[in-house]
Symmetry: C2
Subunit: 186 residues, 2 copies
C-alpha cells in the first residue's frame, strides 16, 4: 500500500490512532484509517466410502502438490456457500451436507482455515481450472509427502485419528510454525 | 475506494479479471486487483454460575444497548487470542478456557461471527473504554429488547435452549435478515 485509497495522497504512515491500541496504516492527509484484518480460507474434506477427494494444484504456490478443495471466502456469501463453491470450482464436485470439522488460526499469515466434512453426492468430479487432477484416496494412498500445505496435513491427521472412533468433534487450534508443536486450545 | 493504493491513479473499475469469476476492483493503470473479503468478529459468552456477562455499549453503532464482548479479529492473532483480548478490552474480564460455540455468517454485511463460551476467572470485571457498564445477568434478567445486534440475540437464544440439556454443540448458521428465518445448516 503506497497511496491512500481514499484521497490518493502518498501520505500513509504507520501509527496508533487515538483511542486505538494497534498500529494502523493512516493517511496523514485525509486521516482515513486503513484497517487490515485476517482472511478466511474455507473448504471441504469430501468423503466417498473409505476415500477422500484431493486436488493436485495447477497454480502457484505449491504447483503439482495435493490439497483439499478450499479457497478464500468471498464477500456476500456464507461459510457453507463458500466451501461448496470452492469444492465445485476446484473439483467440479457436489457435496452435502456440510459438518464443521477443523478451524485453524494461522496468525503468522493472518488467515483462518475453516474446513467442513462433506459426503460427495456422486462420482462425477473432474479437475477445475485450478487443478491438474482430482482423485479419491484411501488412507494408505494419501500422498503425505506431497501435500501442499501444513493445514491440509493437520486436517487429514485429525480425520484419520477420529475416524476409528466414528466421532468427529470440532477441532479449534492455532497452527504454529513447524519448529513448535500445535497448541490445542479446545 | 477512489484511488489505487498501489500506483495512486484514479483508474479503478469494477470488472471480472481473466481467469476469475467474481467482480473485483481493478486498477486499469497498474492492473492491481484489489480483493475484498469478509471480516471475522469474535468474542465470548462469559459465564459465572447461572449468569452471563453483558456490556452496555459506549460507542456507535447501538450506543447504550447491551452486547456480548466481541470485536474484529486483528492480523497476527489467533481466534482465541482475539476473543480473549476483546473480552479484556470491553469488560476488563479474564476468561478461560474457551469452547467454540456459535459461528454465524452474515453475508449481507460480509462478516462471520465466531463466539466462544468461556467461564469468568473472577469477578474483577469493569467497563473498558468502549463500555458504559458491565453486568452479570440471570436468564430472567437478560434485556432482550435492548440487545445491540441480532447475532447477540441468536447466540443467547441458543445458550438458553442448550443449557437445560447441559450440552452445547457448535452451531453453524447463516443469519438472514429479520424477514426470513435462520437457516440451520449443521
Amino acid at each position: 500500500m503506497n497511496y491512500c485509497s481514499n484521497c490518493g495522497a502518498a501520505s500513509l504512515v504507520q501509527k496508533i490512532p487515538e483511542g486505538d491500541n494497534h498500529l494502523r496504516i493512516v493517511c496523514e492527509n485525509c486521516h482515513t484509517i486503513h484497517y487490515q484484518n485476517p482472511k478466511i480460507v474455507t473448504g471441504c474434506l469430501p468423503e466417498w466410502e473409505d476415500k477422500i477427494l484431493l486436488c493436485k494444484r495447477a497454480i502457484e504456490p505449491r504447483y503439482g502438490l495435493w490439497t483439499l478443495p478450499a479457497g478464500f471466502m468471498e464477500n456476500q456469501e456464507s461459510l457453507e456457500q463458500a466451501a461448496v463453491r470452492e469444492t465445485w470450482e476446484e473439483a467440479q464436485a457436489r457435496v452435502a451436507p456440510l459438518s464443521l470439522y477443523v478451524i485453524l488460526s494461522l496468525p503468522r499469515i493472518s488467515q483462518v482455515y475453516v474446513m467442513f466434512r462433506a459426503p460427495l453426492q456422486d462420482l462425477n468430479f473432474a479437475p477445475g481450472v485450478e487443478s491438474l487432477e482430482v482423485k479419491l484416496f484411501t488412507q494408505d494412498e494419501i500422498p503425505w509427502e506431497q501435500l501442499a500445505f501444513p493445514v491440509i496435513r493437520r486436517t487429514l491427521t485429525h480425520y484419520y485419528q477420529d475416524r476409528p472412533r466414528g466421532q468427529f468433534p470440532v477441532h479449534v487450534e492455532e497452527l504454529l510454525p513447524p519448529s513448535s508443536s500445535p497448541l490445542q486450545t479446545s
